[in-house]
């Protein structure tokens, strides 16, 4: 199977370990075999090990180590935020976050909704039989 996601300048990645867990960052330059210089609109440019990054399908069009303004403009042009939130991976993460931030009342409401759903499925099932 050939590789589809490459480490390249402009590749968007998700941080999957450490202090910046869950953040979308852009690979802005490669330091060496294990580390990349990584940047996002709301953080200082830092180096990060590839082991902490999960590459996504999204890339943006930037030159090596762009200025912050150029980076933000390129991210707007490539519409990274919308592409991410509409991708299946991005949607799953949003759902996970929503589920983790539920309060007891929300969980109660979900329980009622699930029961109602199940009732609907069960009546269809009995009709079929």
């Amino acid at each position: 199977m050939p590789f589809k996601r490459y480490v390249e300048i402009g590749r968007v990645a998700l941080v999957n370990y450490g202090k910046d867990y869950g953040r979308l960052v852009v690979i802005v330059d490669v330091i060496d075999q294990n580390r990349a210089l990584v940047d996002a609109p709301d953080m200082v440019r830092t180096q990060m090990n590839f082991k902490r990054l999960s590459l996504t399908d999204i890339t943006i069009d930037i030159k090596r180590v762009p200025k912050k303004k150029t980076l933000i403009a390129a991210m707007e042009a490539a519409d990274v935020k919308n592409k991410w939130e509409n991708s299946s991976w991005g949607r799953k993460l949003i759902v996970q976050k929503r589920r983790a931030s539920l309060n007891d009342f929300d969980r109660f409401k979900i329980m009622l909704a699930k029961i109602k759903n199940l009732l609907g499925i069960r009546t269809c099932y009995t009709e079929v039989i």
């Binding site: 996601r5 300048i9 330091i31 060496d32 210089l37 030159k63």
Partner: protein, 192 residues
């Protein structure tokens, strides 16, 4: 930022003034060590080898640590600082080390954002490739090298503005050490 074990110090010292020499020459040295005490000791070690002065007939004038400038306030506290910790540089390090059979000189190149990071890389690489412990290494010189003058293929291969390579294996690990378990329900998927 990565916490570096090796700190860079600037140490300034001279011999004590005597009747023969009212104003002895002041010497300054840039060193790497884990702490200030060791830095001062190293300073006297090197100065003893170069000039006729020992710690007992010398005085330390100043010792300052070099650190990365992150905020404006820190500029007041430190004298030497890394000017641009977000720019990747190629560092060349000349060193003298003691192997099991004698002393050798070596020149190594590293790519890093800060000089302290490159020096730390050098110490770990010498330990791993040559089994040389850090007290057997003396740093002769460090310099930032422009890309054209780099000698080693392993640094030159990253001098590519259109660099592109796949990550071959996915590292499967829980997002924090607390979520680590000995047994997992299913085999991991290593494809990126």
């Amino acid at each position: 930022m990565v916490t570096c074990k090796f700190h860079q110090y600037q140490v300034v010292g001279r011999a004590l003034p005597s009747e023969t020499e009212e104003h002895p020459k002041i010497y300054r040295m840039k060193l790497w060590s884990t702490n200030e005490v060791r830095a001062k000791s190293k300073f006297w070690y090197f100065l003893r080898k170069l000039k006729k002065v020992k710690k007992s007939n010398g005085q330390m004038l100043a010792i300052n640590e070099a650190c990365i400038i992150l905020k404006l306030e820190l500029i007041i506290l430190s004298l030497i600082f890394e000017k641009n910790p977000t720019k990747i540089k190629n560092y060349g390090i000349w060193l003298r080390y003691q192997s099991r059979t004698g002393y050798h000189n070596m020149y190594k190149e590293f790519r890093d954002t800060t000089l302290n990071g490159a020096v730390e890389q050098m110490y770990t690489e010498m330990a791993s490739r040559h089994r040389v412990r850090h007290h057997c290494i003396q740093i002769i010189k460090t310099a930032t090298i422009p890309a054209k003058l780099c000698k080693r293929e392993s640094t030159k291969q990253f001098h590519n503005s259109k660099i592109k390579f796949p990550l071959v294996f996915k590292v499967v690990r829980p997002p924090s050490r607390k979520l680590k378990t000995t047994y997992k329900a299913s085999r991991p998927n290593l494809f990126m």
